[in-house]
Structure formats: C-alpha cells, structure tokens
C-alpha cells in the first residue's frame, strides 16, 4: 500500500507550550493505524493535526509538513472545508445533530452539494448508513430523532455522517470508549470493514482494541513518537523499552 498521509518533522505548540516534538510518520492508505500512549502524550493533538481541527483553538502553531497524497495541508492554498470533507472525524462522545436520523446523514451531503436531486440524496444516505452497519436497525425510523438511538447506534450514525461526504481518511478519537462491549465490538468490526475503502487513524486507550483492529501501532509519550511498528510486532516484541513498559502496564 502507498502512503496516504506523510508527516515530517512536525512540531506543535499551544501558545508557548510545545505539545508535539519532531514527529515524522507515514500513514499507509487503506490501513488502520492506532495511536496509543498515556493521557496527555499528544496523540489526540496529533490526530487533530491531520485535518487541522486544532485551527479552531487560539494561539496554536504548527511547524513541519503534513502531506495528504503529496499535498501540504498546511499550505495557504489549502481549502480547510474541503480538507475536512476528505478527512472525516469521529469523536469519543457521539454528537448527533438534534435532527432526524436521515437529516443527520443528509446534512453534509447537502451543504457540500454532492447530490443531484432527492432520489440521489436518499440513495447516498442509505449507502452511508449501510456502510456504517446501521441501516438495518434504522431503515424503518429514518424520520425519528437521532437522540432516540442507543449510544452505540449514535456513534455509528456519526460514522455514517462522516462517510456520507465520501471522505478518504477517517480519524477516530476513542470512538468506543463510552460504549458497552457489544457496541464496542460492532464499532471494531466496522473499522476493519471500512479500511477496505478508507485510511483510518484511531486514538485508543484500550490496548486490546489497538491489538485487535489496527495494522500498525504508533506509541507516543510526552509529545514524542517513541515507536511505530506493525501491531503484531508491537504487542509481541516491541523495539523500544518504553513501549514494552507501557503496553505491559509497567507505568500508567
């Protein structure tokens, strides 16, 4: 697989405080890469660098290069709205709009003017819901409020909403941390399905989840990328002592 996202010598600052230090990393396309590390290690900040979500925070500064398909996303020419359409995001807490299930998914398609009439819009919504493994559970109640769904369903609705605008990359920030084991399993199965079409980067605190679903794992500590390796290697024979200590719970 080729490289989808290439990060080189990335430094990131919140005001004067540096949160990420000289990070270079290649994220291959159509793979799942997990970002793990202790709280505050910078993995979520790093995830948000990848679709410029940090731009909304005042006084942040980014140094280095982040390229998607070879194009620098921090270049002044980059259309951030278009970038965020291409690089979708799913958060820890599901955040459906206070609208119907249908409208939640249709929203992005409408504002991006991606459809050619009502039947096309409906087809796109159905496709996104099917890709998010939610269609069978909601097809008879598309007009009802999204808040009537369970937590796991709401999270899959948010994934459907992200998929509806045909992204290329999906960033997930602890997407299953608030879900029960069954809902978690569904999200995990979905992630593994989605990588056939999309490049996925996922932040997780659940080591076993990273082991189950990712192809590669990157370990961050104190804003530095300590190690990135195929997940199987990472969990059986990591290169770095710090990684070993973290994944075996020698420090928290």
């Amino acid at each position: 697989m080729g490289t989808k996202i290439s990060i080189s010598h990335l430094n990131f600052f919140y005001g004067k405080s540096q949160a990420l230090f000289d990070i270079s990393l290649k994220i291959p396309e159509q793979e799942v890469m997990a970002f793990v590390g202790p709280s505050g290690c910078g993995k979520s900040t790093f995830l948000r660098v990848l679709n410029r979500m940090n731009d909304t925070i005042p006084n942040v500064r980014v140094e280095g290069k982040v390229k998607i398909d070879g194009n620098d996303i921090y270049s002044p020419k980059t259309d951030v709205v278009s970038l965020r359409r291409r690089v979708g995001m799913v958060f820890q807490k599901s955040n459906p709009f206070p609208k119907s299930i249908f409208e939640n998914v249709a929203y992005g398609i409408r504002i991006n003017r991606m459809h050619s009439g009502k039947p096309d819009l409906e087809a796109r919504v159905e496709k996104a819901l099917k890709d998010a493994a939610l269609w069978d559970e909601v097809k008879d109640r598309l007009g009802t409020s999204a808040f009537g769904l369970s937590g796991g369903q709401q999270q899959r609705l948010c994934i459907a909403r992200a998929l509806a605008v045909r992204p290329e990359v999906i960033l997930m920030d602890e997407p299953a941390s608030a879900l029960d084991p069954i809902a978690t399993q569904k999200i995990e199965e979905l992630v593994v399905q989605l990588k056939k079409k999309y490049t996925i980067a996922i932040v997780t605190h659940n080591m076993q989840q990273a082991a189950r679903i990712s192809d590669k794992t990157a370990f961050f500590m104190l804003g530095k990328l300590i190690e990135v390796n195929p997940t199987e290697k990472m969990f059986t024979n990591p290169d770095d002592k710090l990684t070993e200590d973290y994944i075996t719970g020698r420090f928290g």
Binding site: F235, T236, N237, E244, I247, T248, G249, F251
Partner: protein
C-alpha cells in the same frame, strides 16, 4: 516501580514450571538408577510418581489460560506465558519417558543382565545435563546457553547409534537375549527422545528472549 498484579501470577507460573522441571529431572535420574542398580522398588516409585507430574502439568495449563484470559499479557509477558505453556507438555512427556524406562527396568531387573550398562548411563548423563542446563538457561533467559544445549543433542544421537549397533549384534549373536536387548533398545530410544524434547525447551527459551522462532531451521 509498583508490582503489577500480573507479576505475582507470572512468578507463580515460573515457580511451578521450575518445580515441574526439577521433578522431571529427578524422574529421569531415578529411572536410570532403577535400571543400573537393578532396583525394582525404585522403578515402581518412578512409575507411581508420574501421576504427580501429570497433576503439575494440569495446574500450569490452568494458570497459563487464566493469565492469558484475565491479564492479557503483551510483549515479554506474553512470550513468557506462551513459552511456559509450550514447555510444560514437553516436560510432562520427558517424565513419561522416564516412567517408560522404569517399566523397562522392571522387566530387565527380573532377568540376568545381558550386557554391562556402559553407554546407556552415559546417554542418561548427557540427557540429564542437557535438561538441567536448558532449565537454567530458561531461568536466566540466556538464549546463547540454550543454543549451546541444542548442539549437545548430537552427542546423544551418536551414543544412540552406538547402542543400537551393539544391541543388534548381541541379538544376532545370541537370539536368546532378544527380549532383553529389545527392552534396552527402547530405553536408548527413550533417552534419545528426551534429548529431542530438551531441544524443544531450548527453542522456546530463544523465542522468549529473542522473539525468534528457530524451530525447523537448519543449524550448522
């Protein structure tokens, strides 16, 4: 550094494995003594005590499964549990061979000795040393020591071939000793197999310490 919950479990697992290893070592030693000293009572004890070893194997199996399921070990911890889980049945099989040697001793001790036992005790000595060194290497996680033990298996194989030739010619010269010689041949085969099993233990130690599978690879 705080002690992790898993550390206590891994310590228990290590202790249980070493106890099984020591008990197995002793079983091989006593089985051979029951033969060379023609002590059938000792042979009976070795056969009886094999049950204790079987029980130890089950305990280790259960603990290994429990650690895998409840502690979800990773990296070195994972390799350690896997190694123990794979070494345990190997030790149990070595102990089975010891019991089989003891059973052969029961038959042989009832008959006049057909030949002086020279090569067999040598084979047993090498096998015993190999087993002890393999367990020491596992305890100290010394992959190089394990690799050195693996090389010694050739000595047992050579001794086995010598015993085989000797017993064959005895049988050809005097068919009356065939039954006894056949039992001795089995004893030699048991010792030769023990050498092979010790190699398996060593290979698992290399996996534990270097995360490398050296099984089924040609060695110089």
């Amino acid at each position: 550094m705080e002690t992790r919950i898993i550390d206590k479990k891994l310590d228990v697992l290590r202790d249980k494995l070493l106890l099984l290893g020591g008990t197995t070592e002793k079983a091989v030693y006593l089985a051979m003594r029951s033969l060379t000293e023609r002590d059938s009572e000792l042979a009976q004890k070795v056969i009886k005590d094999d049950k204790i070893i079987n029980k130890m194997e089950l305990e280790i199996d259960q603990l290994s499964v429990q650690i895998l399921a409840l502690q979800q070990p990773a990296a070195h911890d994972l390799r350690f549990v896997i190694s123990v889980a794979k070494i345990t049945p190997v030790l149990e099989r070595i102990a089975d061979h010891a019991a089989n040697i003891a059973e052969a001793a029961l038959v042989l001790n009832n008959e006049p000795q057909i030949t002086p036992y020279v090569e067999l005790p040598k084979m047993a000595e090498i096998a015993g040393e190999m087993l002890q060194s393999a367990l020491d290497a596992f305890t100290s996680e010394d992959a190089e020591a394990s690799k050195a033990v693996i090389k010694r298996d050739k000595d047992i194989d050579k001794a086995y071939n010598r015993v085989f030739d000797k017993l064959l010619s005895l049988m050809l010269d005097n068919p009356a000793v065939t039954t006894g010689a056949a039992h001795l041949l089995f004893v030699a085969k048991h010792l030769e197999r023990i050498g092979d099993y010790v190699k398996d233990i060593c290979e698992m130690n290399v996996y534990l310490t270097e995360a490398a599978f050296i099984k089924h690879k040609k060695r110089k």
